[in-house]
Structures are given as C-alpha cells and as structure tokens.
Symmetry: D2
Amino acid sequence: MERSSKAGEIMDALNAFMDEHIYPNEALYEQQLAQGADRFNVPPIMEELKARAREAGLWNLFLPHSEYGAGLTNAEYAPLAEVMGRVQFASEVFNCSAPDTGNMEVLDRYGTPEQKARWLQPLLDGKIRSSFCMTEPEVASSDATNITTSIDRDGDHYVINGRKWWITNAYHPNTKIYIVMGKTNPDAPRHRQQSQILVEPDTPGISLIRPLTAFGFYDEPKGQAEIVFDNVRVPASNLILGEGRGFEISQGRLGPGRIHHCMRIIGQCERMLEQTCRRLLSRTAFGEVLADQSLWQDRIANARTDINMLRQLVEHTAHLMDTVGNKQARSEISQIKVAAVRVGRSVADLAVQAHGAAGLCNDFGLGYAFTRMNMIRMGDGPEEVHNRTIARLELKKYSDPGASSAK
Amino acid sequence: MERSSKAGEIMDALNAFMDEHIYPNEALYEQQLAQGADRFNVPPIMEELKARAREAGLWNLFLPHSEYGAGLTNAEYAPLAEVMGRVQFASEVFNCSAPDTGNMEVLDRYGTPEQKARWLQPLLDGKIRSSFCMTEPEVASSDATNITTSIDRDGDHYVINGRKWWITNAYHPNTKIYIVMGKTNPDAPRHRQQSQILVEPDTPGISLIRPLTAFGFYDEPKGQAEIVFDNVRVPASNLILGEGRGFEISQGRLGPGRIHHCMRIIGQCERMLEQTCRRLLSRTAFGEVLADQSLWQDRIANARTDINMLRQLVEHTAHLMDTVGNKQARSEISQIKVAAVRVGRSVADLAVQAHGAAGLCNDFGLGYAFTRMNMIRMGDGPEEVHNRTIARLELKKYSDPGASSAK
Amino acid sequence: MERSSKAGEIMDALNAFMDEHIYPNEALYEQQLAQGADRFNVPPIMEELKARAREAGLWNLFLPHSEYGAGLTNAEYAPLAEVMGRVQFASEVFNCSAPDTGNMEVLDRYGTPEQKARWLQPLLDGKIRSSFCMTEPEVASSDATNITTSIDRDGDHYVINGRKWWITNAYHPNTKIYIVMGKTNPDAPRHRQQSQILVEPDTPGISLIRPLTAFGFYDEPKGQAEIVFDNVRVPASNLILGEGRGFEISQGRLGPGRIHHCMRIIGQCERMLEQTCRRLLSRTAFGEVLADQSLWQDRIANARTDINMLRQLVEHTAHLMDTVGNKQARSEISQIKVAAVRVGRSVADLAVQAHGAAGLCNDFGLGYAFTRMNMIRMGDGPEEVHNRTIARLELKKYSDPGASSAK
Amino acid sequence: MERSSKAGEIMDALNAFMDEHIYPNEALYEQQLAQGADRFNVPPIMEELKARAREAGLWNLFLPHSEYGAGLTNAEYAPLAEVMGRVQFASEVFNCSAPDTGNMEVLDRYGTPEQKARWLQPLLDGKIRSSFCMTEPEVASSDATNITTSIDRDGDHYVINGRKWWITNAYHPNTKIYIVMGKTNPDAPRHRQQSQILVEPDTPGISLIRPLTAFGFYDEPKGQAEIVFDNVRVPASNLILGEGRGFEISQGRLGPGRIHHCMRIIGQCERMLEQTCRRLLSRTAFGEVLADQSLWQDRIANARTDINMLRQLVEHTAHLMDTVGNKQARSEISQIKVAAVRVGRSVADLAVQAHGAAGLCNDFGLGYAFTRMNMIRMGDGPEEVHNRTIARLELKKYSDPGASSAK
C-alpha cells in the first residue's frame, strides 16, 4: 500500500507538530484540566493548540471525498490516526476526535443545506462539539434493534422520550448538538424502525442526570452522561435522511470510525510498549535488570508481535474499504474491533504490571489508558456481537445453496 | 476438614448479621460516604454497625491463639473471611480488616507491654486504625531487599528518612499509628538490614503528599497515600522486636493475612458470579436470553469451576498452616496469592462484560470490584515474585544433593 | 479429610509396590509391547505384575461398598488412583483400569446372578477384559440422546444394529464382553429410550472395522476400535436392569469413574512436572541453565499451582460423593472433568516444550502423554457438555420460582 | 502490495492445478502411501503429479532472483505457498518443499560450479531429495552455538563425528545429499565456529539409528531420522562457502524459508477452518445445530480474525524482505514464526474439537494436521528463542546510547 506523496507530507507535518507542540504540552494539559473550576472544562492550551494545528493545515484530516476534508483515503488517513492516538487529547487538537468525526460525516453525507449550515460548519471549524445518543440503560443495546427511545411525529415536530447513557461529550462545555437514535416506526420491519434526529442540548425536557464513571474516571473533559429525554420537542426538519433510515445512517458512519478507533488504539499501544521497555530497563529485582529477564522479554515480544499483526489487519481493512467498499469489508470491520480491544487490553495490562503500583495510578497515564481500553471494549459493539457477525459471514460461505462442495 | 461447633455457630451468627445488618445497609453506606464533607470520612453507619457487631460477639474473629481473639484456627476463620468479603466494607465492621489485622498480629506477637497498651488495645477496640508503610516509589519493592528508607539510631531515638506510597489507611480519619519498614543496618547481610518501627502520624517531618488513585478511584474512606518521612524522630522504644528483624516480623504476618485476602476475594467472586447470573437471566439479545447462550454458559461454568478450585486450595493452605506450619506451607501461601488474583480478575472481567456499560461504572459495584482485583494483584507481592518462590521450591526437590533419582 | 488407617496402609503398600515393581519395569513393558507378534498383545510382564499385585492385596481397590472390593470410600481411593496414574499401564496391574472398572461396577450393582457369575467374576479375577460401546461416528454423541444404535426385541432375543467407534479394549486379546448402549424404546421420553446390553465379541454380526489412531497412536495394547453391529442377536437375559434404563445406569457409573480418571491425570501431571524440572535443570541456552530463567520458572509455578488446585477440587468432589451423594455433587463431577483436562493439557504442553524435540517423540513418554490428555478431553463428554451442565445448575439458583432475591 | 501480472497468472494456474489434480488425488495419495511395501515409500501418484506440474510450468516457483527460478519476489511467492499449504503433500508436487527449497537456495547462492552440477541440478529437476542436519539430541539446539558435531580437517578431507536427530527426509527413498552443520573451528569466536558441509548418505560411517515419531506419526514418506556420524570422511571440496561461515549461510536461508512455512500454515489453517464450518453446520446437539451456538461462533470468529492478522503480517514481512532486506526485517521474521505457530495450533485445536473424536484420528487429516503444528513449533527455533530476539531488538531502541528520550 504505497502512500501518496500528499499523505507523506501530512505525516511529516503531523509528526513535527506532535514533537513541537503536543508531547511538550502533555503535562500542562493535565494540569490545567485538574485545576479547572468545574470538573468538565476546556484547558486553555487546547484552544491554543487547535489554532496552531489549523494554521499548520492539520485540520479535519479524517474527512474523505469531501469539499471540506483533506481528501485522504482511509488507508492514507489510518497512519495519521495512529500518531494522534499516542496522546489521549491529540485527536481533538486536529479536529479529528470522536464522536464529532462520525457526526460530521453523517451531516456531510446526509444533512440538508440548513442542517449543514447550522451544525456542520461550526463543527468543521472546531467551534462546537457534539454527542451521539444511542446506548440505553434498560436494554442490551449491543443488539441495536432493542433501542426503545421513541421519536413520535406531532405536527411539524417530533417528540422524543427515552433514557440514554454513556453519552460522550454531553458534559463538554462546547457541546451544542446531539444526534439521537430512536424509534419513529415501531411497527416497521426490524431494521426500518429507527431514525436519527438532531437535538440541541438546551431544548426543554432534556436532563443530564449524572456523570458516569468508568473505573472511577469521569473521562474529563468530555464526560459520559446519563440523559433523560422527557417530551423533548424538536422541529421535524431536524430528522436526518428520513424516517426509518437510522440503521442505514449508522452503517455509513461505522467503517471509517472503526479504522480511526483502531489506529488510535495502536498508537496508544506503541506508546505503552515504549513506556514498558523504558521502565523495565530502569528497574532491578533479585539482582537482575527486569529487561534482561526472559519472562519480561517474552511479554515484550508478544506485545510487539500482536501490535504489528493488528496494524497490518487494520491497514488492510482500510484498503479494502477504499477499494471494494464497506459492505464487502464487513467481516474485517468487525474483526479489527475485536482484535484491537484484545491487543489493547493486553498491552495495557503489560504496561501496568511493568510499572508496578505506578501503573495503577495515573503518573504515567496508565491508569486511564487501561480504563480506556476497557471502555472501548464496550463501545461500538461488544466482541460478542462482532464475533457473531464474523462467524455468520464465515459460515454463510458453506451453508448457502450455491456454496462450493468440500475441498 | 470438619468445622468445630464453635466455628459453626460463629458462621451462623455471621450470616445472620450479614442478612440483617450488612446487605440492607450497603446503599446507605455508599450514600453517606459520597456525601461526607471530606473525601475521606467515616460514614456514620459504620460506627453503628461496629457497635452492633461487637455486641453480637462478632469481633476480632481473625486473631488466633491469643487472649484477645476468637481462638479460631486459620482453617476455621477462612470461611468467615469469605462471607465478609461479599461486601467491600464488611470486614471493618467486625474489626477484621487489613492492614489493621496484620498490624494487630504483629503487636500481639512481638509488641512490648507498653506498645500493646498504647496501640494494640485501641486497635482491638476498633477505636483507631493503622497503616503499614513498606512500598517505595523509587525501587522495585517487590524485592523487599530494595527498600531504601533509612532508620538511623540517634541517642534514644531513631530518625527516619524516606518516601513511601500506596499506604492504605493513611487518609482514614481514625488512623493513629504506622508501622514503618526501613533499613537500620545497611551493612548487615541482606535479610538482616531491615527493621520495623512504630510511628505516629502527627510526628513532625511526616508529609502526606497526595492521595493516589487506582484507575480513577481514591479508595475512600481509607485512601492510598504517598508519604514523605523527612528526619522523623521517634523514641527508640518504638522499634519492634529489635534491629534487623524486619523480615522476620514480615514472615510472621504474611501467612494469615494471605488467607484472609484470598478468602475475601472468593467471597467477592461469589457475589459477582451471582450478579452475573441474575443479569444474564434478565437480558435478551438477538432473540435469545443471554443466560441461554452457550458462550455465556461456558463463561459461567468456568467461573464456577475456578472459584471452587481456588477455595479448596486456600482452605487446604489454611489447614497446612494450622498443622505443619507456615514455613512448610510456603509454596502454597504463594500459590494462593497468584491463583486468587488470576481467578478474581477473570471473574471481575466476566461480571463487567455481562453487565455491559453498567459494569464499567459503579451502579453494581463492579467498577470498583474490578479495580480492587487489580490493586490486590500488585499488593503483597506481584505474581512474578511468588511464582519465582514456587518454582525454586519445586526445582529444589530435584537439584538438592540428596534428591531422589528419576522416577 | 482425614484418611482412615486402612487407606493409609494401602497407600504405603501401593507406593512400595510402585517403587519395587512398576517403575523398574516401565522400559521392559514398552519393549515387550513393541516386540509383540501382533500390534495388540499383552506384554508378559503385565501378567507377572498382576499376579504380584493380587498377592500383595493390591487388587480391585476401586470397588466401594461391595463384598468384592477394598471397601474404600471415593475419597480414600482417590489418592491411590493418583499414584497409579504416574505410569500409563499401572492401573491395569491392580485391576483398576477403565473401562473395566466401570463395567464391573455396573455388573456389581445391576447384574443378575447369572450375569455376575459369567462376566463379573472373571473381570474381578483379571482373567478377562471388557469394552463399553457408546460413541457413534454418525452423530454428536456428546448429546447421548443422539445415539442411534437400535436394540430390538425379537422373541427371547434382542437384535442389535449400529456402528460404534472409539471402543477401548476392543482389540485387547483378553476382551470377552461388551456393554452396548442403544435404543430399545425409540418412542419413549428422551431419557427412557436407551438400554444397556451385554454382548460377547464373538457373536455373529460383529465386525471390527479398523483400529483407530489418536494422532498417530494405536493406543496399544487395548486399542480403539470401530465396530459394526449387523443384526447381532443376543439372549434377552443379557439386558441390564431393564428396557429404557440405560441413562440411569450411566449416571451411576459416571461419578466414581470420573474421580479415577481425574486422579490419574493428576498423577500423570506430577510425573510430567517432575520430568520438566529435571530436564530444565540439565539444559543450558544462551549461557543460563533453563531452570534459572524466569520464563520457565513462571511456567513451573503455574503448573504446580494448577495441579494443586485440581487435586483439592477432585478430592473435595470425592468427599461430596461420599457424603451428600452423586446427585448433589453433579456440578462438581462435571467441573473436575473440565478442570482436569485443562490442567492436564497445559502440563503436557509444558513438558513437551521443556523437552524440545524429545518431547514430541516418546523417549520420555511425552508424545503419548500429550496425546492421551487430548483423548481424555473427548472421552466422557467434551467440556462443552459439562460446562452446559455446570452453568445450568448455577443459573437455576436464581431462576427458580423460589430463588432468593438479590444479595 | 499490488501483485504483478506474472504472479497473478501463476496463481490462476496454480489454483486450476489444485482443483484439477491435487484435491481429487488426496485420497489416492494417502492410500498408496499406506499400501507401500515399506513404511517410507514414494506414492506413484506423486511422480505423476510432479511431471504434470513441471509441464504446466508450476515448478521451482520459490526460487527468487535466479536463473533457475520463476523470478518471483517473496511477496509474490507467499500467496502461492498458502495455496500449496492447503494439502500436506502439494508443495512437493511443485518442487517447492522443505528442506529441499532451503538447500537449493544455499547451493544456488554459495555452491561451487561442481557442487551445483552434482547436487543442485538434480534437486532442481526433482530427481533427488535432500536433508539438512542440524538439531542434536544432547544439547539445547535452540541455541545454535551449542551444536557439538565436529568437522575436522584431515588432509584433503573433513572427518565428521556427531549425532543428529529430527532429520527430515533422511528416510525418503530419493534423498541423495545432506547438508551437515558442525564445528570446524571450536576456538574461534562463537559465531565463527560452525561450518556447513555436503555429505552423501551412503558415505561410510553414517548410520540411520531409527525413525522418530511425533505424537505417534512417522511422518511418511519423508520421515524424521536419528543419525550417527562416526568418522565420516568427505572431500574438503564439499565444504560450503568456507570454514566458520555456517551461521552466515543459515542467516541467508532463514528468511524465505520462514515465509514459506508460515504461508503454508495459513493455507492449512484456512482448510481446517473450512472443515470446521462444514462440520458444525452438519451436527446437532441439545436441539441446536452446532454452527448456530454462540460458543462455536465465537471460536470461528476468533479463528478467522487470527488467520487474517497472521496473513497480513507474513505478507508484510515478505514485502519488507523484498524492499529493506532480511536484516532490517529480523524482528518480523521472528514474529511470524511465533505468531504462525500460535495461530496454527489454535486453529488445529478448534478443528479437532469441532470434529469430536473424528478430529483425533486422521479421517479428516486433523490428527496429523494437529501434530504437524506442534512439530513446526519445535522446528526452526522454538518461540522462546524468537521472542528473545524480538524483545532484544525492541529494548535496543531505548537502551542504546543514541536512543531518543522519553516521548
């Protein structure tokens, strides 16, 4: 997979920016975040860095085939996402952070001119942030057909009722728009019941119940909210694409977002493996430097091999998406989710263990990194769902009437 | 291993107490803890429950062979620890929580009459709490000979200098005494360099630098502190047992504490497995109740089997300690640490996954339970150290000059 | 679980016998077996050892609660089975080898006086051997209700038609009786359709199709046969217990046989761990004795811990069977199958790897030991079936109408 | 990695040949092999197929950059090796089977014109076969510096003394040449002590001690031999490249052979996964087709993901070898060995388990496939050695004086 010269230039610029502006400001970012008046605040350094990134032309790099984006293919963007993934907050600096990326793609692809003007443009400018409201506490949301939030037509409006949770960004001070998934057509066929609709956070009837913690973390500054929608009325023109097309929209956003997530995980794994090596080189137990002990070497080697295998599969999947399309790459798009979480959790575990008690707290960022890997496991479909998809596609090769005979 | 009738009666009383007083107050305890003025506070319900437990004769059950304790063997106490382990805060209610238990054992066994009067008695009465200061941030403390804190004799005093961290209880409002491990005799043979000394928290020169988080948890109300000892002077009479006997003291406290920890882990695992079953029975995905799916059944079965194997090994180890002694049971005492953490982490992982996103937060106590299992992994020696011990004892059977020939 | 003095004496005698007669003859046994005129032959040393064992009173030790046996409980017999398990052919020396043991138990418990005189007595005398014919190639026999062999009444006879495979002992020269499982009542409720019937190998219509190999082993001298029953007529009096009672009979034989199998696996694991330690102490790579390398120490420690946990669980299960009965111990009886195979395969894997290429061949008995562990995995129900049973029993605690509420 | 049109045409021809000639003759090959007069014989169908393959231009495809070969890069040859790997004997049909391939590469690169005329040409013509004699029973050969066979200069000859084992092809009737590794310069620096020398099997002093079995298999028709070299004299001109250059030669052959092995493993995994799916679709237990059960689906999905990750990594490694060279790809060349064995063993395990008892025997080729995966684990360096290499290369990034500071 040869990289175009444009992609190569962006990569060079990105690496230079990371070296010059991101790594040196990691500590400052954490410090400003911790010292903010509110739990959920925007560290001033973030806005400074965003301005610099935009100036450097490192902005909205994720958006393919669009008048707004860098025009990179998935395969070209993937290595950039890996680099950004090395620092937890870096993607946002380049306006490339989830769920804004997915929301922008949806608006870019399916939004009306009015919707684009009102919400896509400020998102592209990094002026506002956004949420995607899907998961519900009362049902196994891993089966998306279980979603129960209702979106009922009432004249020129839709009325929304339901409870959502784990809504990323909902506590972020800049969040100005939600995309909400719910049922407009409960009597339609299972995959035509759901719709997606745009909702502004200050609409009456919306209550942020509480910030959720993941293993104790509030995931600042974006936060994870539980939200109740109680007779929330929005104009009918806020509906995206049309009634019953919620699944269709989700399918479209799924693939690229998956690549981004997985490549960021790889970046984070590389960072943790580096930390692990440095730590093991610096510590001695029972008269032997830890890095010289075969047990630790075995673990380092497995981590290196796992990360490399994962990267190859993710980049191959990106290539498939670019060439044969998301639908043909369905199995791979599920595979990389499962594999990335497996590798990510395993490398995080190694890094924590290599750092001893220091790995549990956040002195090396590992407490959060470990937690993050476990959060990602749940997000975007648990492995049980993805493995079901992969297996069914595999079995179909042999169970279809036209399947070739044994070989 | 037949249980004595006394142990049986205590078990009945304990179960009744759990049913009547502990389970019904779990939510209240969490609520009071969250609402305390300070992060580290004692929920009022705790003191109420302690009074009731003492009244019910369920007090200091852990202390064997002593005028103060219930006179139970390790094998008899073990199942009680399991029951207490089902609720995070329950051990404290019965004055059976670490590190107080270990500290009380040390004082009971090695303390001078003055040391006992001043610190053992209030500990036995549940009036004060205590810390054990061993782990240091600057060295691989898993090899205890690495410990660098100095305890230097200066006339009638010892002067302590060093930095400790992950000091449980240090932020607990009731903590009035530390046992500190450090080097009095840096030039002695490796296992005769260390001593243990009693230090009161308000001694000049002690600074609590910061509360540490494990993943994102502050582990309230006890807390995990980083502490600096800067020329801290304590009377020479605070030394326990004598100079250079720190390792000897540690060996003594190790065995029983290990049993307690492991049995509590088992109790917690049982609770989590119960939660897992209930959850899976209540959720449906892709048209099938999760509890009916073979993948989840496989996981439940493995958890059940693992827990049962672990319990048998821990109870067997307690029995060995009671009959042939800690030294002969050295390998088993290490085995149960490794096995308990392995099973505990695996069951916590299952419970989290079964609860979906609800498993990450603390609505079912699982976010903390998962975190706790990872903390325990580090505490009390990581598996690398224990496995080294087990393997060396195993290999010694065949490498000693007198080892029998191949069979 | 205190051992009775009788059991202790037998253990001493058994260990002495192993030292004096079994270990010193291992090589001879293998040599005679390899040099036999036929693939399936009885090495002369086997008959010599059997005579000696019987003389020493080490005979039919497995048979509980019977006029014929040693009168040991399951818990008392278990450690003896472990010792026998250390050498592949040792159980047969003491007339304690499967499937004869299970077949003798069935005849002892359910046989008519005539059946006992004709087949039980020579089995008890070690004069003949026997097979149990259950598994079929055409169906998933792990679900025993799938079994399709028909056993049809025809006057004073039953006529058997079907195909069985993996029939242990069928090629053994001394095998004189089969117990065959099949359907007498295909229209009865699912667990009342099957019966067990006694069939002599020279009955017309029986064809031994071929000896099966496990990986590449023929499992000499007993062999694993594929057998066709083509209109095989046996007297109606050969039926055991009655029509439709096949499952009931199976249940009875299941528990004790499981204990035997699992304890033999433990004996074999101990032997392999010993071999592993000796090997690692004797080999050097990259300038360090393998036994001193932390990676190998980690593996040794895990093997030691796993074996110990398994032994405790199996002995506990034997104790449960002796005290509360097989039905109450159903979950544990399944647990030990799954756990024993898991540990057995893992220790075999370790031993093979520690021996390098020598582990693949049979110079240290490891090629067969590894194979054996994989055979046992299939036999007696695969883990999928046992885990299903364990999980369903676990879930039942919370799904029954009378289940206690959440705690 | 775009495939050249030449490579694409060869792939099409190879697939067509497999469909027309290989798959339809699998049973015949096994039957002829089993019916041969000797254990080690060449099934007649093999020579027929070889003639056809050569005729079809599908011959010596593995040999890169050479007047003799197809001129394919490693990346181009890799997918062909995968296809051949689907059938155990297929590589030989195309004169692409180990260890002949590695031996031919060595002779092609380092052989004298005389050596080439005498041994390379008949090997290229598929007229003879060959062995590579390295592993020794007495030392941990995984550390190649341990090799003790001596190769001593004596006038115009070298005299070889030593014992080798696991010598593939040594029992093959067509094997006419060995390459033997041993020490010519025991006092030189560690990596300059060894040499490689050509030895004809009928040279006096060579004894084939016995055929070795792997899990009971004799690995016919090639066989695995134990060989003693007792004062074996060969002309000095048989030495390859020069004294002390044995390691250098090994390095050269290592990379491409690794790619071939790993791709064949992938081919075999694909075949086993296909068999697994077909089997699970055809069997029912407890009222549900196995393929519909979530536990089996989870396993299928993991196998699919693992195979895909492995393929990407191996193809990427081939690409690295083609572009930056073997030395720069050292870590990856080790990674794919470890990863391929891990995946291969896991998929073989799945296939065996899915087939129940039929997986243990060879009715579906799985008994041997499983065994083969375990043999490959040992061959070509065990994972302990490769992981050591990988880890040391990884750690070197941070321990070298010039290593960049933490990031």
